[in-house]
Amino acid sequence: MVAILEVKDLHYNYPDGTQAIKGINFKVEEGQMISILGPNGAGKSTFFLHFNGIIEPTSGEIIIEGKTLKYDKKSLLEARAKVGVVFQNPDDQLFAPTVFEDVAFGPMNMGLDEEEVKQRVEEALEVVGMSEYAQKAPHHLSGGQKKRVAIAGILSMRPKVMVLDEPTSGLDPNGASAIMQLLYDLNAEGMTIIVSTHDVDLVPMYSDNINVLRKGKILKQGNCREVFSDKEVIEQADLRLPWVGQIFEMLEKEDNITFKESGYPLTVADARKTLLEKL
């Protein structure tokens, strides 16, 4: 597998000298879906803004498709077409008077001709299910709809990697699942996706590659089972076991019923299977 995005020994200090990122090594292979879990203030957003060169690291390097990122205008434009970042608050991202114009902004900047742009916009809006809202103004949309438009705004650039900063924050449970399902489908079609979140209940359903970030460092890297069975890391990072896992933990500790030796089930489907086997 080819590393599509690689971060080598990344350090970043804020202008006031505070260390935000303290030496991160991070590698993303094509087609992966990676979750970055971490408490508020862990440096997730700052970390993400390095991927497309919005923030220039204090030291270390970003390598996109084998090319070390340079910070001149041309390389930056290229990097931003390859790595698309969806911001946490869609209101930060949506600026145009209508949804259609907003989604068209990225591809227009890539210098594509208008026909191509229109086609991409229609396709992107179709994928996120917002086609009928094309002519609406962003301030007439609900939170979930704005989120979808923000994602479409990146999709229309057809990036290789899509980075989403807390895509489920501020959404109702159904909206959150729908967005995660959308990302999952995009991933199944080959898009590489990096998601930051602290929704531990949703993560095990969609991603099997988790990085735990805390205070500017990656504490642990691994699949769901590995990460969630490491109690120390989970506690340090202010996370918790998914609710489903907690039921099995309590059953084991307080009622001495062990279902599986290899760890607790973490999703509803997983739990159902385990219970059926036992009964």
Partner: protein, 265 residues
């Protein structure tokens, strides 16, 4: 969302003329405003006002109450200036105020009526354009007319962020009231001052982050927008015919009525 339900912006996007070719509307509105100014008699502006009002209420289906509130402020100003003009005319008084030797004159009343109805006609014609046309199409016209990009870019960003900050302001205002703000005159002053200050800081932060978000999508100093405008070539023949008929009738009206007014002098 609810605070945006009954705004001008909402109605521009949800009326029967939203998707009509913008140039039809621009040409009609400009012609109406110019002819309105040329007319020497208040009758023609009054007819233009009637026509535009009928178009706005019955053709575009803008709610009457909303149209009335929209017109209330300009009408208020027109009435005020009308009253002053009526007293400022020269010639024999037909009614004396009994103060400073001023009074109503025939010329003054004629002048007042003319100005009042010109304002009415002009605002209605302009209202026809801005009540039925979404802003983004007006920006597209700016672009077609080669208005400098920096102005259009600024207008586009301002248009979007007005609504964002309106939302922020109303949330903050409610949260202040929740904590018993604005209960007395002094508190009112304090709350308003801190609200304004906070909104200012928020705009500053928003500016920083919006720049990052735009840069992430390849912004490099100029908003490359796809223009969702109409072409002047696409005006339906019917619209041209109607506009020409309108212009001809109004010109005939101007010639026929001349400077006919309430009093002949």
């Amino acid at each position: 969302m609810s605070i945006f339900e009954d705004t001008l912006d909402h109605h521009t996007m949800h009326n029967e003329l939203t998707n009509t070719n913008i140039y039809s509307k621009v040409i009609f509105a400009l012609a109406a405003i110019l002819l309105n100014l040329v007319s020497g008699s208040p009758i023609v502006p009054f007819l233009i006002f009637l026509l535009c009002s009928v178009l706005i209420i019955f053709k575009a289906k803008i709610p009457v109450t909303f149209y009335a509130t929209f017109m209330a402020i300009p009408i208020g100003f027109a009435v005020l200036s009308g009253i002053f003009l009526a007293f400022l005319g020269t010639g024999p008084h037909i009614w004396d105020l009994g103060l400073f030797g001023i009074g109503l004159t025939k010329g003054g009343i004629n002048q007042a009526l003319l100005v009042f109805f010109r304002v009415l006609g002009g605002v209605a014609a302009l209202g026809f354009l801005i009540l039925t046309t979404p802003m983004n199409r007006i920006f597209a016209v700016f672009h077609d007319l080669h208005v400098p990009t920096i102005l259009t870019d600024l207008a586009i960003l301002m248009y979007r962020y007005i609504f964002l900050f309106l939302d922020v302001t109303s949330t903050m205002y409610n949260s202040q009231k929740t904590r018993l703000g604005y209960h007395s005159y002094m508190s009112w002053m304090n709350c308003l001052a801190s609200l304004a200050g906070m909104v200012f800081i928020r705009t500053w932060e928003q500016g920083e982050i919006s720049y990052k978000a735009l840069a992430s999508r390849g912004y490099n100093g100029q908003l490359n927008m796809i223009r969702d405008g109409d072409s002047i070539k696409d005006i339906p023949i019917l619209h041209w015919i109607l506009i020409i008929i309108f212009i001809v009738i109004v010109i005939l009206g101007i010639l026929y009525f001349g400077s006919m007014n309430l009093y002949t002098i």
